[in-house]
């Protein structure tokens, strides 16, 4: 039965249910319990924002605090996956991939291919991403495009609580390495989530709003901004079709293609920088596959090519807004 819970609770519930179902699922990371070796509570934090709170007591010995040593424990999660476990490692902020990327892209991602199909690396690396918290350049990036670029990795970007739970359960059961990315701003978002276990399959986009005028493809948190823009545009008589790819690898290009062939107009909303981004990826794909269907140039609504700034006045300018999405939609709608 569905009831309203938050995105954060949905993630916690997915971990809890999978740990209960499968003893090979373990959770590890910096302060995922929070308090190892300290004189107070052994599970004082449950992750830096409390996402894994309570799992330590429910699953003794399977929620492991690590040193602040990302190469060490992310690599250990990969190694454990090669030896029969299904580790879910938390990288805390996606920005920290900078100190452990080798273990992800040279090791985990490559094993199956490089070893002739004989390795299986069912590891999940969870991390939070995204701007909006005045956390500045080293705690606010998106970076999903970088993981998407690497063959061997799967990349998941849930935009709501229902998808967060179903996609995380699929990630844990999946037999390939999965990068599961949670937008900080979505942790408090509420939505209908079934109590029972379920999966949301990879590579299947969600059409979150139907419309025949303009296709909007949006990623992660930007799906919600696109919905805001879409609601406002509807009042002005513009019907947007909003597509949430949900996973960027694998990527459901078919749904996007089918929509653009119908609308002839495409706006892509991506919180990341514009160069070599999901926005440019989708843009390139449509330019190649549906050039004849386009009635207007593709519009990319992205962050600028600058690091994420600290000051509120600048960060607010940095993040794509519903207003900018609306403007882009109107540009392609009115293009002649």
């Amino acid at each position: 039965m569905a009831r309203k819970i938050t995105y954060q609770q949905a993630i916690n519930e997915a971990l809890d249910q999978e740990m209960a179902r499968d003893p090979s699922v373990i959770v590890m990371g910096e302060d995922v319990a929070g308090g190892a070796g300290a004189p107070g509570e052994e599970d004082s934090w449950g992750g830096v924002l409390g996402v894994t709170k309570g799992l330590y007591a429910k699953h003794p010995g399977r929620v492991l605090d690590t040193p602040i040593s990302e190469s060490g424990y992310i690599g250990a999660a990969v190694g454990a996956a090669c030896n029969g476990m299904r580790p879910v490692a938390e990288l805390m902020f996606i920005d920290f991939m900078g100190v452990c990327f080798d273990q992800i892209f040279n090791q985990a991602a490559k094993f199956r291919y490089m070893f002739g199909g004989k390795a299986k690396t069912p590891v999940v690396i969870r991390a939070m991403y995204g701007a909006g918290f005045r956390a500045a350049a080293q705690h606010s990036q998106c970076l999903y495009n970088i993981f998407t670029h690497i063959p061997g990795l799967k990349v998941v970007l849930p935009s709501n609580p229902y998808d967060a739970k179903g996609l995380l359960i699929q990630s844990i059961r999946d037999n390939d390495p999965v990068i599961f990315l949670e937008h900080k701003a979505l942790y408090t978002m509420e939505g209908d989530v079934p109590e029972e276990s379920y999966i949301v399959p990879f590579g299947e986009a969600a059409v979150v709003q139907e419309g025949d005028d303009v296709t909007i493809v949006a990623f992660g948190r930007m799906v919600n901004y696109a919905k805001d823009a879409g609601a406002s545009l509807r009042k002005k008589g513009v019907q947007c079709e909003i597509i949430d790819p949900r996973t960027t690898s694998p990527m459901d290009f078919d749904t996007i293609l089918e929509s653009v062939e119908r609308t002839g107009r495409l706006v892509i909303v991506d919180e990341s920088h514009p160069r070599c981004s999901m926005a440019s990826d989708v843009s390139g794909f449509i330019a190649q596959e549906a050039f004849g269907a386009l009635k207007a140039p593709i519009q990319m609504v992205t962050a600028p090519h600058v690091p994420v700034p600290f000051a509120a006045s600048l960060e607010d300018l940095y993040i794509p807004s519903p207003a900018r999405i609306e403007e882009a939609v109107m540009r392609v709608k009115e293009y002649r």
Partner: protein, 324 residues
Amino acid sequence: MSSSLTREGLLQAYRTMRTIREFEERLHVDFATGEIPGFVHLYAGEEASATGICMHLNRDDYIASTHRGHGHCIAKGVDPVGMMAEIWGKRTGTCKGKGGSMHIADLDVGMLGANGIVGGGGPLICGTALASKLRGSNNVGVCFFGDGASNQGTIFEAMNLAAVWKLPVIFVGENNGYAEATASKFSVACENIADRASAFGMPGVITDGFDFFAVHEAAGEAVKRAREGGGPTLLEVKLSRYYGHFEGDQQTYRAPGEVQKLRETKDCLMQFARRVTSRGELSMAELEAIDVEVKTLIDASVVKAKADPLPLPEDLMADVYVSY
């Protein structure tokens, strides 16, 4: 020093070391013809290390290896015939021609891969050991790394993590004196790699990598300690490689006659043979019979590798994912 090895154990040790030597010496010759693709880093000279350590391991123990990984593979039980085909880039290779010399792996025998990234294996082996520990088995993990990797952060992080979690890991620092063309005397800030063990609260042991029996004994203690829940050990094996960093390396950074002198005075196979025959444990005839068998095997592996088919176009896209 008394050997704890049975006759069968001694024969196995000699056969493994001889197989590695023959494999590498043959590659040295064949690589020079230009027919073998890519980079090859030979393990010849270091055989006592892989052999002395892996003889303590069983199939369910894991090892992580390095770019200089052929010896570790053979010692852990990877089929040399498949390895040769892999190095020749053939579809019949251990990794179907997708990995090559630097990435040979066979998880079925606990070989987690040679590794093209220096220091890449440390964190990984902590993971296999963590899995063993959480399952309540007494399996161990061995991380082979070189003096070059001894300066990588991944190795420090792995040692700390293994000590913090008290993991059944043996860190084997194979110090052959050179990281590529740079001497370990220059690049390793302390006298011995093993000295760093105390910083991670684990025992650090130095052993002579030309002496199979010394390696075997030191490794035996470290493996026993790990299996019994005593945590990790850092074992530094002092040895030398007989060839360059890679095949084609002119080695002008080495002293003239350096390798020749080692071959004549310290060679691990020579020392082994001298010892077991002088003690009457094995006969020269038995060792020579192994030499012939091994040579036949390696010759056949090359003939087969040359004749085997290349990967097919449809193999290009295969095995990126389990499902996609």
